[in-house]
């Protein structure tokens, strides 16, 4: 088998663990980064090849975790926590504001591909609610009036 840079990076991950299978999650995270934020079938095959697993096994892992995406996402990922403490602090109005500004329902991707919008479960920022996570970076708190500026930032990227 030809060794690709990805293959070699996964071998390095693999060497950190007593058993190779432990590297499945870090390898999937790496593959997702390299494939534009999601895991197309070829990404699952690359992970499987690098770890001597089957693509089916790798898919069974990928489908278990919320942060691994099996469908394409937008260029940015906007996640609004709607769990108890954020809900009490007005998360729904924040989610609505993003939906309006991006022109997309929660769970969907804007037509121009700018961003995917999601409601998520507790992100662990309850003391600075409502929490919004943009491309993995916590913004806390975010109020509806902050939303146009955040979306503007994403457009300007």
């Amino acid at each position: 088998m030809a060794t690709t840079p990805f293959y070699n990076r996964v071998q390095k991950l693999r060497s950190r663990y007593p058993e190779r299978r432990s590297a499945v999650l870090p390898a999937l995270q790496l593959a997702q980064e390299e494939h534009g934020g999601w895991l197309p079938p070829e990404a699952l095959r690359e992970v499987a090849d690098a770890l001597d697993e089957t693509p089916g096994y790798v898919l069974s892992i990928a489908s278990f975790y919320d942060m691994l995406n099996l469908e394409p996402v937008g260029r940015h990922l906007v996640e609004v926590c709607t769990n108890l403490s954020c809900a009490l602090a007005g998360a729904q109005a924040v989610l609505d504001a993003f939906a309006g500004e991006l022109g997309v329902e929660p769970g969907g991707t804007a037509e121009d591909g700018l961003a995917t919008l999601r409601a998520i479960e507790c992100a662990g920022g309850c003391g600075r609610a409502p929490v919004v996570v943009v491309d993995g970076v916590y913004r806390e708190p975010v109020h509806p009036e902050d939303v146009p500026e955040i979306v503007g930032e994403l457009r300007g990227d």
Partner: protein, 435 residues
């Protein structure tokens, strides 16, 4: 000045840097511990009655005493940094502000249990804290403090269930994060089938202070049955939300009113969730209960992750129950039928009640579903889904009854009305859409 064990030194030092951590005495405890025998280190931890800060409150020293000896296999130390309980955000600050205290705790504990391999399983969303921890670990490596111990920081990928210790081990082994049947328990058969000590971030982060102060001095802080401090996470309808370190045994009243500034906007207190969304709710007349494992237990709830969610008079307890139930439905791993199916039933029944389509018998059915779920699953998630629903129903039954007979939700000021939960994005069933 409040007694600080976790956050000591953070006010005037950047404790993410090893040089500043050393200025406040950092890594002196490690040196002291390494001069002791492993058993002497464990004796200090046992003598301090250090109880687990992750939720169950199990004494760390007793856990270590259960580790299988002479198995011919390595002994692993696994740190549970998968903090995901709604309302909880203490470990995030412990890692983000004092990463070296956690790493020092790992190295001291590793010496105590004679382990050379440590894994820290951190929830995937905590990317910033992961980076802080990784940078701190590089400093530890550069300072040659590892002493032959390896520490791997392993990132999760978004699954509440992986905070359950056996699900965490499965996930760390590269499997789906589904809990294991017990026995065998992790001290006998844990990671890769080897004896494994698993502790929460906040438990391990206290270990250096125990070695520094000595068990006797440590056990004089806080409640006699549970010495030390906790980082209390205050959120919800409270004037000054945030993380505050206080001794165990501080009352809910002190935490809510003195520390947190009281209910936000001067509203009336309606309910207190003392330990994160999974624990039974307490009523305002219980506000003088001390926050320690035994006192909160006697009051009918759990200390949990010391995450207080304050609920004010406007909030509809049916909506709150529904949103909590949606969370547990979303996070159920699907392995045990009572949890997988029961969480869906809870959501459907609560949805029906919230929409005004419920009748008296639906409340009975809700109770019955709770009874049939409780204690019936491999792990506690099935119970966690029940505690909010059954306790809100029992203690705030009039809120539920006010919805019946076509009345619909009478709480027009409730701040969580119409909240969209992630289940509505994933579910193919429109009837379990949103509140």
């Amino acid at each position: 000045m409040e007694t600080e064990l976790f956050l000591a030194g953070t006010e005037d030092h950047d404790l993410r840097r090893i040089s500043e951590y050393r200025e406040v005495g950092g890594y002196a405890a490690l040196e002291k511990a390494r001069a002791l025998t492993p058993q002497q280190v464990l004796d200090e931890i046992t003598g301090a009655t250090l109880r687990g800060r992750g939720g169950a409150g199990f004494p760390m020293g007793r856990k270590a005493s259960l580790l299988a000896k002479d198995t011919g296999k390595p002994i692993y130390l696994v740190v549970n940094a998968d903090e995901s309980e709604p309302g909880a955000f203490k470990d995030r600050d412990v890692m983000g502000l004092t990463p070296h205290r956690l790493l020092e705790g790992c190295l001291i504990t590793a010496h105590g249990i004679e382990s050379t391999a440590v894994f820290i399983y951190i929830r995937g969303e905590y990317e910033h804290e992961f980076e802080v921890l990784r940078d701190a670990l590089e400093e530890v490596l550069a300072a040659d403090l590892l002493g032959g111990v390896s520490i791997v920081v392993h990132r999760g990928a978004g699954a509440y269930i992986c905070g359950e210790e056996t699900a965490l081990l499965e996930s760390l082994e590269g499997n789906r994060g589904q809990p294991r049947p017990r026995p065998p328990f992790p001290p006998v058969n844990g990671l890769y089938g080897a004896p494994t000590q698993i502790n929460n971030v906040s438990t391990i982060a206290l270990v250096p202070k125990i070695v520094e102060l000595g068990a006797e001095a440590f056990s004089k802080i806080g409640a006699p049955s549970a010495p030390g401090t906790a980082v209390f996470s205050l959120s919800g309808c409270i004037a000054r939300p945030g993380n505050y370190e206080r001794p165990l045994g501080t009352t809910l009243r002190e935490l809510i009113y003195d520390v947190g500034g009281g209910v936000a906007d001067g509203r009336e207190l309606k309910a207190i969730i003392p330990g994160g969304s999974s624990v039974p709710v307490l009523t305002p007349d219980q506000v003088d209960t001390p926050m320690d494992y035994d006192s909160i237990g006697a009051a009918g709830s759990f200390f949990g992750s010391a995450a207080l969610i304050v609920i004010d008079e406007r909030v509809c307890m049916v909506q709150l129950a529904l949103r909590a139930a949606q969370f547990y439905m979303h996070e159920s791993c699907g392995r045990c039928t009572p949890c997988r199916v029961g969480t869906r039933w809870l959501v459907q029944l609560l949805q029906k009640i919230e929409e005004g389509e419920g009748e008296e018998r639906d409340l009975d059915l809700l109770e019955s579903v709770c009874d049939r779920m409780l204690g019936k699953s491999l792990c506690a998630l099935g119970d966690f889904a029940v505690y909010p629903v059954s306790s809100y129903l029992r203690k705030y039954r009039s809120d539920f009854e006010a919805h019946l007979g076509g009345a619909g939700c009478p709480f027009h000021e409730s701040p969580i009305e119409g909240i969209v939960a992630p289940v509505s994005q994933h579910s193919g069933h429109p009837e379990v859409a949103h509140v």
